[in-house]
Point group: C2
Amino acid sequence: MQVFLNGQFVPEDQAYVSVFDRGFLYGDALFETLRVYGGRPFRWRQHLERLQRGADYLRLRLPFAPDALRGFADELLRRNAVSETVLRLTLTRGVGPRGYSPRRADRPFLVMELWPAPPVEAEAADGWRVIVSSIRVPADDPLAAFKTANKLPQVLARAEADAQGADEALLLNHAGNVTEATASNLFWIQQGTVLTPPLSSGVLPGVTRALVLELCAALGIPCAEADVKAEGLKAAEGAFLSRSTSEIVEVVALDGVAIKRSGVVPRLRRAYRDVVRFETTG
Amino acid sequence: MQVFLNGQFVPEDQAYVSVFDRGFLYGDALFETLRVYGGRPFRWRQHLERLQRGADYLRLRLPFAPDALRGFADELLRRNAVSETVLRLTLTRGVGPRGYSPRRADRPFLVMELWPAPPVEAEAADGWRVIVSSIRVPADDPLAAFKTANKLPQVLARAEADAQGADEALLLNHAGNVTEATASNLFWIQQGTVLTPPLSSGVLPGVTRALVLELCAALGIPCAEADVKAEGLKAAEGAFLSRSTSEIVEVVALDGVAIKRSGVVPRLRRAYRDVVRFETTG
């Protein structure tokens, strides 16, 4: 496989970054993960916008203009001759003097590589068994708005899910409200309304989360933001998780308690596929 | 300069890590930073013990036994022919499948490299101007006990210090208590007692912090753990920061307010140097 390494295409066994890169040293980096359908990165603009917002917040410079970057992404897909795949883009602050200060670290580094796409149909058919992890996240963390390379809480929460034979783990904030899963946003259905935690609870503004809210509006399904405790979720009329790589996946159990299955989920999934088809063909 | 790269010594311009390494992708890594005096890493055992505790917590395997690692560290110092330096050791979970789950990522990767030592004498003479950063950290974060590669809050806080012409930034927890600075532990003096925030406030158990507490006991200076607000610090009889690379540095101003200078600080600094001399010679 070829990897895009800050302006060059190199074979994956030569895709290396300096051990002095601040992404490696401190997690001083952002990333985006996009699903590619038919050779086209889905919702590229929305992912790039989030990356740019994060870069602005961290005062990190994108070393390539968005259009040039898209050209490189297309070239990466062509060189690897894959069309159904996952594209990860990592932006680091690059090499600088030792210490946390970002001063004089002004050589940002950008990597794009491809990963196998998850089996969306199988995931959709089976749904996910989910646990509530013991990891707590702050509600008012400004970094929660961006996809940073500081993911140890998520790694630990996923390890808890693995240990319990579950597929995903929910993270609570310090108020005990559910925020999101380690790599997906949460939705649930209550009295016919699709609900999701507000961003202010410490939630990543997921590109797929935004699309789900758009789809609800388009389909005339009431939707709103609300806080919820784990117990509230167990009593819901249905629950699902959203993320770019897996689209929409039903939560079939929470901490071993079966969750009702709602007809809203397959409706949203069909509408999601329609948007994918519309935006990635023609 | 030569770098130790997971079992090999390589020139720094060949010291690269795979872009698929989880340290780079997710900050799924730990590190230690040690001061080397006269060619000997100071308090090696204590740093290695903290690394091992972190590795146990993250279920990360050290790929080399501590003794072998010490041999490699000594060899690294010999090859680079430096004796007054800073040694950083980074342990990552290595390469694995995509996603936060650490499952099947069982090839840990260990890097050691040297960095210039800060000018300890000059820092001690000038002291540090410190600010209270806007960044909040959770009080009960289990990861606070380890030196993880998730340092974006510290990077942001240091950037705030830079913007205000300050040398370091203090982080408050959500209760509004001061925890530590971005890369150093905090002490202050109140009625002759040396005080420092308790680990339970969300404080890294610094190797130098522990040594300062030992020195207070040895010198008969009363010391204790206590919580403090920023306002309390401004009224202290003196304040200082501790870290391996800079030893003990007086806080001369906090948010622009001059902090009293206490005779306790030079006493502790002299005692610190005595321990350094004792442990790194003969």
